[in-house]
C-alpha cells in the first residue's frame, strides 16, 4: 500500500475543488472527454462542482441535458461507442434509481455483451450521503446496489487527494466507474493534493490511521466518522486503525485481511441501511479469509433498516461516532 511517485507539489484543496481540478485536467488532456448532466453547464452544477468548465471548454463538451437519468447514462453508452469519453453527472446518487436499468445491465455489461468490441470508458459522478438535511432521496447511499452487476467499478473517495487522483484514474479507465462523491465533505474536508501521473491501480485500500487494538473500516464520508471515533477511543485507551477502502469494486481483499489481521478485531461502518449493505460483504470476506486471525466477530455499524428519514431525524438513522465507539469497545472488550 505504498504510494507512487509524486510529480507535482502538494496543494491544499477541498474535495469539491479537487474534483473540479480533475475534470479540468482530464478535459484538457483528452478532447474526447465530455461532461454533461442536469444543470452542469450554465449553472456549473447544483453544488458548483463543474463551475467554469463550460466557459473553458465550450458548450459542445460541457452541456446541460434534459431531466432524464436513464437517457443520460444510456446516451453515455452510445457516446462511448462513438469514441467519446463521457463523464455524466447524476445530480444525486439517489436518482441513479431512475437510471438503474441503464447502469448495471447496460453500461456495466456492454464490454462483455459485445465481446470486447465496445469497452465503456464512462465515469458516472454522483454525490450522496447524509448529514446535510437534504430532501428525500438526496442522501441515499446506495452504492452496494451496484456491486451485484459486475462490469462496473465503484470508487468512493474520502479525501481531496484521492478525489483528485482517483477521478483522473476513473476517466482514463477503459471500464465504467461509478464515482461517488460525499456531499457532506465537499467543502468541509480540505487537504493536500498531489497530482500523480502514474497512480496505483484501483483496488488498494489505505490505512489512514495506525492502531493496534481494532480496525475501523469505512469508505466515503464514514471514514471521517471513524477518524473521530478513533480519537475518542484513544482517550479511552483503545488504539484503533482506520482503513479507507477507497474502492468497493475492485475490493482490496489482501489489504483488508492484512489490516484486520494486525489488530484481530474489526468494525465496518457505512451510511446505507445495515441489511444488504456493503458492510456485509466486508464482514463475510473477512471471516472467510481471516477467520483464525479474528479474536471477535466483525461488527457492522450501518444506517437503520428504514427509509432515509427527513433531515430533522437523520442522526437517528445514520451511523454516529458514539455508535462506532461503542461497537469498537464491544469488539475489543467483548
Amino acid at each position: 500500500m505504498q504510494e507512487p511517485q509524486t510529480v507535482a507539489a502538494a496543494e491544499d484543496m477541498s474535495i469539491l475543488e479537487a474534483i473540479r481540478a480533475a475534470l479540468f485536467a482530464e478535459m484538457a488532456r483528452d478532447e474526447r472527454v465530455l461532461v454533461f448532466g442536469m444543470d452542469v453547464g450554465t449553472l456549473g452544477g447544483v453544488f458548483r462542482v463543474t463551475q467554469g468548465l463550460q466557459q473553458h471548454f465550450g458548450g459542445d463538451r460541457v452541456f446541460d441535458t434534459p431531466l432524464a437519468e436513464g437517457a443520460i447514462v444510456g446516451a453515455s453508452v452510445g457516446l462511448a461507442i462513438g469514441g467519446m469519453i463521457p463523464v455524466p453527472e447524476i445530480q444525486f446518487l439517489g436518482f441513479t434509481y431512475q437510471a438503474f436499468h441503464q447502469i448495471g445491465p447496460q453500461l456495466a455489461r456492454f464490454r462483455s455483451r459485445s465481446r470486447g468490441r465496445y469497452p465503456m470508458p464512462v465515469t458516472i459522478r454522483a454525490p450522496d450521503g447524509g448529514g446535510v438535511r437534504t430532501p428525500e432521496f438526496h442522501a441515499d447511499a446506495v452504492e452496494s446496489q451496484f456491486t451485484q452487476t459486475p462490469g462496473i467499478k465503484i470508487v468512493c473517495p474520502a479525501f481531496p487527494d484521492d478525489a483528485r487522483n482517483m477521478l483522473s484514474m476513473a476517466i482514463r479507465d477503459p471500464d465504467p466507474v461509478l464515482f461517488v462523491e460525499p456531499q457532506r465533505l465537499y467543502r468541509t474536508v480540505r487537504g493536500p493534493v498531489t497530482v500523480r501521473d502514474d497512480p496505483l491501480p484501483f483496488g488498494r485500500a489505505r490505512i489512514v490511521r495506525q492502531g493496534s487494538d481494532v480496525t475501523l473500516i469505512a469508505w466515503s464520508a464514514a471514514v471521517h466518522l471513524c477518524l473521530t471515533a478513533a480519537s475518542e477511543l484513544q482517550s479511552a485507551g483503545i488504539s484503533a486503525s482506520v482503513l479507507d477502502l477507497r474502492t468497493l469494486v475492485p475490493l482490496d481483499v489482501a489489504g483488508l485481511v492484512q489490516a484486520v489481521t494486525s489488530t484481530g478485531r474489526a468494525v465496518v461502518v457505512h451510511e446505507a441501511p445495515l441489511t444488504g449493505g456493503f458492510g456485509a460483504e466486508i464482514s463475510a470476506t473477512l471471516h472467510e479469509e481471516a477467520f483464525l486471525s479474528l479474536d471477535s466477530p466483525v461488527i457492522r455499524v450501518g444506517g437503520r433498516d428504514v427509509p432515509y428519514p427527513p433531515g430533522a431525524l437523520e442522526d437517528a438513522f445514520l451511523p454516529t461516532v458514539p455508535r462506532i465507539v461503542s461497537a469498537a469497545r464491544k469488539a475489543v472488550e467483548g
Binding site: M38, P135, L313, F317
Partner: protein, 360 residues
Amino acid sequence: MTQQPIEAGAVDSTVTRDARLGADGVASGDAPMSREQVLEAYRLMLQSQAIDDLAIKLQRLKRVGLYAPVQGQEAAVVGSALALDPRRDWLVPASREQPAMIRHGLPLVNFFAGYMGRLDSAGIPEGVKLLPRQQAIAAQLPHAAGLAWAMKLRKERAAVMVYCGDGASSEGDFHESLNLAGVMHVPLVVVVINNQYAISTPFHKQTAAQSLASRAIGYGMPGIAVDGNDLFAVYAASDDAVRRALDGGGPTLIECRTYRVGFHNTSDNPNDYREQEEVSAALADDPTTRVERYVLAQGLLSPGAMAQLKVEIRAELDAVQRSVADLPRPEADFIFQNVYDVLPARTEQQRAETVKEDRR
C-alpha cells in the same frame, strides 16, 4: 393489418384556447367562474404569496429546511385545483403546488408542520384525498394513473388531477404513465406546470417540442396548452377535463405556460443562469395582479376589504406558524414508524437500540 389504410396524418389533438383574463384584468367573453370561485381563487393566490414569503423567512432563520416557492405560478396551480371537488376527486402533487394542497384539504398546521420538522403532525388527515409531495421528479405520475384506474374499476365518479413540471416531462415515468392512462382510458387530468425552467435548464434545452400539450396525441388523449397566468383559461381547461374524466371520457393533458419568478428553491440563485430582464418581464405580468384588477373592476371587493383580506391572511399564517413551533419535535424512533405494519424482529431491535442511544 397491413391492409389498414395509412392515416392521412394523425389527428392533432391539441386544442388551444383564447386568452380569457388578460394582463389588464379584463375578461374576454363570459367568466368561466362564479364570483365566489373568483374570490376563493384570489384568496388562495394571496395566501400562496404569503406562504412563500413566510416560508422563505423561516428558512433564513433555519426553522424550515428547504423551500420551493410558487411565485408566478399561482394562477396555474389555483385555477386547476379549483376545478376539483375535494370530497370527490383526488389531488396528486409534485412538489410546488402548495395552494392546491391546502385548497384540497391539507390543514395549514399540517402543512407547516411538514416544513418545520414537526413530523408527528405533518400527515395527511384521513379523508383528505391527497398524496404527499413527491421528491423524485415524475414518480407521482404512474401513481396518479393507477389511482384513476382504481376509480374507474370501482365505478367511483371521481377524477384524479396530477401535477408535474416541464422538467418532469422528460422522464420515462411521464411517458409510461400517460400512455397507460390513455390505453386504460382512466379519469386522469395531467397538469404540466411549464414554468420554463427545471432548476437552471430552460425549456428549449428540455425538449425540441414546440409544446408539451402536443404529446397528448401520442397517447390518444386530448391535449391543450393554455396561458398559465390566465386564471380563467386554466380553470376552463381544467373544468372541461374534469368533466370529461367524470363522464368516462378518459384522460386529458393540460400544459399551463407560466414562469417561475422565484428561485428554484432556497438554495438556488437564479442570477447564475438567467437574465434579470426575463424575470422583470414576467413580474410585469403577475397572475395574481390580473385577478386583483378583475376583482376590483368587477367590484367583488372594495380596496379596503382587499387590504383587510391581505392582513388577515398573513395574520392567520403567522398564528399557525407559531402554534406549529410549539409542537413537540419527533422522537428518534419516529423513523421506525410506518415502515412496515409490523417491524421485522431485527429492525425492532434497531428501534430499541435507537431509543436507548437517544436517552443517553
